[in-house]
Structures are given as structure tokens and as C-alpha cells.
Symmetry: C2
Subunit: 451 residues, 2 copies
């Protein structure tokens, strides 16, 4: 935690000081507060108050606060400024990737105007060069700001270059080494530069075994590479191996979290990424489609059951165990499908062992099925239910568990093969189709043994 | 990606070279391979082959491979060495946190023997000082290796200190500043040291606004701090503010991923963290308990329905819509509970706005409920079902959706208040209790309107 934290009490006090425009009291507090905390404070401020607070911050910190704001708050806050101010007070200090993100969510005319007004033409060109990449590829995640040195430079030249670029590249983790054609050939750590003699050349201290990705690499692969090799920053090259940007670990922590949130919500039947602070309407929109699919599934099951109305009238007791059969089919299906979805997301399932995975899921299902139907049979015996009914229900339970495991395993794998997000399978589709097939199987078996 | 990657083909070739002990061909490849890739290769090797490969690596790289192995593979691999070798070939080069992790999963007698045999007594003391902390608190996640300098030192002294400790601290991101009592007072970046004049003192270039945590801070809070402030490393202090360790971003990426996986599997009814490569038995153990809870719920619902057998015999059509009611109760309940669980995990729900969240979930449920029961009524009208049955089912559907939303919202909040992991709520508990209450409500309403 930082020296001053934002708590409920401190926010109230701060808001009061801001409303009173008490600059003398505010300045020392704002100086101690980290950008992420000031961004939190903005949630409780009106636009003119936020603009007042921003006016008390030094230029770079003002921009750091901006990048910490949620996407929608960011645009609202910038509404407090003219295009010229946005260009030269904000964009001038923003990293190219953060600037490109803002432009992507802005009106195109305003975006063009801002890029045109930006006085630093080099920076403006850098930002617009990022606009051509998609959000979820390396090119769309990278920043242009990085420090690169040439192979034949001396350590002294490196230090001078770092000094020169120090203002633009706020966090320096690794210095990249390129050849005369700007192709990435290696890296050197700040530690190595610090400890080397001034007259040594980069050639003598650099490491040529470098990990990199291409601009067209997917965000998932970038995240996997950064995680696997514990990288603090990953250099990105174009198709000609020329160094064009870098992606830092903090962007990837956010990316990993967002992906996990998305899969989690898919599993629970919510589309898109929602949280408790989103509006009722946007939350309803994310959930209603799944409920309507569930509703359609429910109507379909009423038709399946309706087809067996005669059997049901004869053996009303069959109705008692419908919920049990359905719930178990649902549970087993979700267990199998979610473990597949995670395996696919973590790249731990390769195409070659699809049959192995299916065999394993079946083995697990057989054990689980035998234990559960055994327990059910035992309950039937003790409770004095009709034995023929209980035998039928237990047999149906075993079959339904096997079926659910097979469907739960195959559907995500099939979706993945078809290049569709396998997480879709864990939504209401699996549960609904399992419900239908399970009920059908249940009544078929009931029909066979109790007719 | 690195220059040489591990693919299916390259693994086969490598394994052949290893079996033939072809040192001449192996050495240049091993030199290019990153530790994480060599660790992957170990999965396909016998113990003696892995030990042979390790013997070809330089000491630090051998240890880096060890830390990349999965926990169980790690112990199996170390079985190929004597305690003396483990101590002085491995532990001597391991970071204190990685060494402590291994000791925690080892037999205590062997662990003590290794610490006693370790020649570097200072390192041995550092490692054992970490053993007293729990896995999921900052003390159990931190490493003792870090670079600290004193406030009154010159930049030259700092560089000398970094040179001195450079071998032990493999990755230097930030240099910490302490006072004469070893209390943490600030930090200075490598960049600042590199760019400063040799005669300047730390006092002139350091930053006193530092973010830190205590040894007893929870892993979740540490992860939240690192994410919020985009830190590459977080210093950890003891109760007297003395600097005792640091936690780096890579440990936290793993921690975030593991936590997300755990919540995901809880939602799908799998306890513990499993993946597709775990054995059938351990997978069964993780799933069967939830299925048995589901089974018990199913039996309980058969009793609830049994209590309404008379109504059911009179209106067999009521049975047709049981699956629909149950499925919808389940879907709504899981939607509400999972959004609460995520909100609690992300710290975006505070105690004060419990009523606000409940109201919001209710509002969403009312809209969803009205739309779904309206659609159902429309379907009933078009399909020519008995109107009184369809009115009853639609009314029951609306009530059940409202009930499920309330339960799905309240249970996670209540568990959290009781200091129980709210993710438990998303497991079969919510679905099962929703099933039971939903059926009960359904038949009560049916009884009222159709009797």
C-alpha cells in the first residue's frame, strides 16, 4: 500500500476540499497520492471538479491519472477539454499505445483533429501507426516507446541514448539491441550497462538469445509467452524482423484477468464482461439472451415429456426423479466441458490426444456414475420405494452421466476445431442439450422397463 | 517466442540425442533453449536422462530449470541427487522463496539435512526464515534477495553494492533505500542511478513515496496492489517497517491465474485445481463430492414432488414444465451469484452497498422474469395449451426467477461476511437449493390456481 490510501473517509474529506477549491490543503495530498488512487477519486467527482483537480497536477501525472481511468470515464473526462488541449496537454505525454486506445474509442473526426493538432509530429505518426492493428493482436497491445541501441555502440553511447530518451520511456526494463537495418538481434539489461566499463561495446555485453513476437501474434499467445518466460517486457517485430514496439507485463496482467473473467461469465451464462457497477439495462442485455435459450430448452423438454405423457400417467413416480436426472446431467456436463475449456485456454490440450482426453473423461464418468447410481439404489432400498422404479432410475442415471460426460468433452473440442471460442460450450447450450437428451434417455429406459 | 522452440518434432529429435548421450549435438541446442523449455522437455524424459541433461547445464541454468518444473516433477527430479548435491548444487543457487517452496513440500528430516549441509550459512538462514510464513501471505510469497542501499550513500557506493550482489539477485528492477535502522524509506530506479553523477548521494535522487506491504498481508491483497499500481516488484516489511523481502510481478501473474482457475472450477463443481493432465482418480475425487451433493438434492426434490403427488396425478401437465422451472431457477441463480463472487474477488463490492446490489439484481430479475414469462405465455397461446396451466406456469416462472436472484445475491454476500470463500456459493449449493425452493414454489402456485 502507498503512504496515503483512498478510503471512504479520506474520499469524503478530499471531496470537501475540492469543492472548496482549497489548493493549499490539496496540493501536498495530491502529490502523495498515486495516479491509480486519484483515478479512483474521480469516480466521486463532477466533471468540473475533476478538471480542477487535474489542473493542480504536473503534466505527466495528469496523464498517468487519465490512463488509469475506466474507458467510459476517460472519454467523459476529456469532454472537459478542447481538442487542442487534449492533443498538447494529454496526448503529448501519453504512451503511444494508451493514446491509440483512446483514439479507437473516440469519434473519428475528433481523433483526426487531435492527431493533426499534436505538435510532436513524430509522436503523432507513432500513434497513428498503431491504429491499423486489431485490439487482440500484439500490434494493438504494444507501445512504440522503447530504448534501442546499436550493436557497435559503446556503453557510453548507450547511457547517452538512455538519457536522451529517458523522458519519453518512463519505465526502462530492458534495452534492445538492433543492427544497422533496425533488425532485432538481442538485448542487454540495465544492470549490465551499469556494471560495464564506459569504453566497452554493446557487442561485448549483449545477449543474443532473445524472445520476441510478431505484430500479428494473438494477444493470447503474447500472454502465454510473457507468463512462460516471466518477461517484464516483450519486444515486437514486424514481418521483416524490425523492432517496432514492446508489450510490458502490466498490460498482460490486465489481459489475463479480463480473459479469465470472460470465461467465468460465459460459464455462468453472462455474455460480454459485466461487473456489479454496470447498469441494470446492460446487465439485463448480457443475461437475457442466455435465459431465452434456457426458456426454449425448457419448452423443448416439455414437448419431450409430453411425448411420454402416457407412460407418465401410468407411472406418476417417474416424475419424481426427473429433477434428479436433469440436475446430474447438468453437473456432469459442466464439469467435463469446463475442464476442457480451461485445458484449451491453457494450451495443455493438443490435437493429438483428443481420444485420450475423451477416454479419461469416460473413465471418470464411469466411476462417478457407478457410485451415484449405487447410492441411489441404496436410498431406494432403505426408503422402501418400488424397486423396479428405483432400478430404472438408477440405470437411467448411469446412462445419463456417461452421455453428459461425452457431450461435455466433445462439444468444446469440436468448437475449438471449428475456430469458435470453446467457452461458448459451457454456457446454457451444454446444459440445455443435456437436459433434453437426458430426459429422452430417462423416459426411453423407463418405457423399456416399466411398460 | 525464443530462437529455438520446443515442438513435438524437436522434442522427439532431442530425446533421441539424449538417449544416445550425444553431447556434441546437445550442447549448442541446450545453450539456446530457455529454462522453461528444458523443463517442458523433462516431462518426456526418464529420471536418469533428466539428470544427464542437467549435468550438461551451467549451475545457474540447471537451477532455473528446476524452478520451472511442476511441484511434483520437481521432487521426483531431486530424487536423482544426494542431499549434499541438492544443498550445494541446487539450493546454493536457488532464490530463497523457491528454496522455501521446495522445503515445504519435502519430508522435514530431509529438509533439515539439506539446510544443515548448505555451505552458505547466510543463505540457509534466509531460507529457513521464510518457512514460518503461510503460503498465501506476503511472507510466504516473498524472496529475501533484493538490493538495498543507505540514504547517505553515494551513487558510486550504490553501483559497487549492485556489483557485489549482482550474482545473487538475478533480476534487478528497483533498488530499495533504507535508513540506519534498516527501515524502508524509499526507492530509486536503476535508470536514475545510471544517469546520476557518481558523487551524488542517494538522498538527492531517491523517491520517498513508496508502496509496500507487510509480511502478514494476504496474497490477494498483494496481487491487488501489484495490479493496481502496475508494480514490477513490491517490497515487504516486517511489523517494525524493516525491509525483509520483495515479491515480483511474475509470482503474481501465476497467483492471479491460479485464483481465477480455482473460482472457475468451483463454479463448475470441481474442488481444488485440476487440469486435464491430472489422474483419473484425483479428477474423480475432485468431482464426486459435488455430484453426491447434487444427488442428495435430487432425492430431496423427489420428496418435494412426492408431497404433491395428488396434484400431479390430477394435472399431469404440471410435470411437463418442471424442467423449465428448474433450469430457469438454476440459470438465474448462477448468473447472480457469479457476478457477486467476481465483484467480491475484485474488491468492487463494499459492505455499505449490499442493499444497492440486491436492489439492482432484483430490478434485472424483474425485467428478465417479465420478458421470459411473457414469452412463455405467448408460446402457450400459440401452441394451444390449456390457458389455466400456462398462466400458472408463467406466474410460477416469474416468482422463481425473483427468488433465484435474491438467493443468488444474498448467499455469496453472507458467506463473505462469515469469512467463507463466496465462490463456494456458485458450486452445486445454489443450484440445488434453488431447485428445491423452485419446485416447492411451483407446486404451491399450481395448487392454488388449479385445485
Amino acid at each position: 500500500m502507498p503512504a496515503i490510501e483512498i478510503t471512504k473517509e479520506s474520499i469524503e474529506e478530499l471531496v470537501a476540499l475540492i469543492k472548496a477549491q482549497d489548493q493549499e490543503e490539496l496540493l501536498p495530498v495530491l502529490e502523495k497520492l498515486y495516479p491509480a488512487d486519484i483515478a479512483e477519486l474521480f469516480d466521486d467527482l463532477e466533471l468540473d471538479e475533476a478538471v480542477y483537480v487535474a489542473s493542480l497536477l504536473e503534466p505527466q501525472k495528469k496523464v498517468d491519472v487519465l490512463t488509469e481511468l475506466e474507458a467510459d470515464v476517460k472519454l467523459k473526462f476529456l469532454d472537459g477539454y478542447t481538442n487542442d488541449q487534449i492533443a498538447n496537454d494529454f496526448f503529448a505525454y501519453l504512451d503511444s499505445d494508451d493514446a491509440a486506445d483512446i483514439l479507437n474509442s473516440m469519434d473519428t473526426t475528433q481523433g483526426k483533429e487531435i492527431l493533426r493538432t499534436l505538435e510532436d509530429k513524430e509522436h503523432s505518426k507513432n500513434i497513428s501507426s498503431l491504429l491499423k492493428f486489431a485490439d487482440n493482436e500484439a500490434g494493438g497491445l504494444m507501445a512504440k516507446e522503447l530504448i534501442k541501441v546499436k550493436l557497435h555502440w559503446t556503453v557510453k553511447q548507450c547511457t547517452d541514448e538512455i538519457r536522451l530518451q529517458a523522458e519519453e520511456v518512463s519505465k526502462v526494463y530492458t534495452v534492445y539491441v538492433v543492427d544497422d537495418y533496425d533488425e532485432l538481434v538481442g538485448w542487454v539489461s540495465l544492470k549490465a550497462i551499469l556494471l560495464a566499463k564506459e569504453k566497452m561495446t554493446v557487442d561485448e555485453i549483449y545477449n543474443d538469445n532473445i524472445i520476441y513476437e510478431y505484430t500479428y501474434t494473438s494477444g493470447e499467445e503474447v500472454a502465454a509467452t510473457i507468463q512462460k518466460y516471466d518477461l517484464v517486457a516483450l519486444p515486437i517485430v514486424d514481418a521483416f524482423n524490425r523492432l517496432v514496439g514492446r508489450i510490458t507485463f502490466d498490460d498482460i496482467i490486465d489481459f489475463v484477468k479480463e480473459e479469465a473473467d470472460k470465461d467465468y461469465q460465459m460459464l455462468s451464462g453472462i455474455s460480454g464482461r459485466k461487473d456489479t457497477s454496470d447498469t441494470v439495462i446492460s446487465n439485463t442485455k448480457a443475461r437475457l439472451p442466455w435465459l431465452i435459450i434456457g426458456l426454449a430448452g425448457g419448452i423443448a423438454s416439455s414437448l419431450v415429456i409430453g411425448g411420454f405423457e402416457e407412460e407418465l400417467t401410468k407411472n406418476v413416480q417417474l416424475a419424481l426423479f426427473m429433477p434428479l436426472i436433469m440436475a446430474m446431467a447438468g453437473n456432469v456436463g459442466v464439469q467435463s466441458s469446463s475442464i476442457m475449456v480451461q485445458g484449451l485456454a491453457n494450451n495443455s490440450i493438443t490435437n493429438s490426444d483428443v481420444w485420450g482426453k475423451l477416454g479419461k473423461e469416460l473413465a471418470i464418468a464411469i466411476i462417478n456414475g457407478l457410485v451415484c447410481s449405487g447410492l441411489l439404489l441404496g436410498y431406494g432400498y432403505i426408503s422402501g420405494n418400488h424397486l423396479d422404479i428405483m432400478m430404472t432410475v438408477s440405470l437411467a442415471l448411469l446412462s445419463v452421466i456417461l452421455m453428459a460426460a461425452v457431450i461435455g468433452t466433445i462439444v468444446p473440442l469440436a468448437l475449438d476445431k471449428l475456430k469458435i471460442d470453446p467457452a461458448l460450450a459451457t454456457g446454457p447450450f451444454i446444459t440445455t442439450s443435456n437436459d433434453l437428451l437426458g430426459l429422452f434417455l430417462y423416459f426411453m429406459i423407463g418405457n423399456m422397463f416399466l411398460a
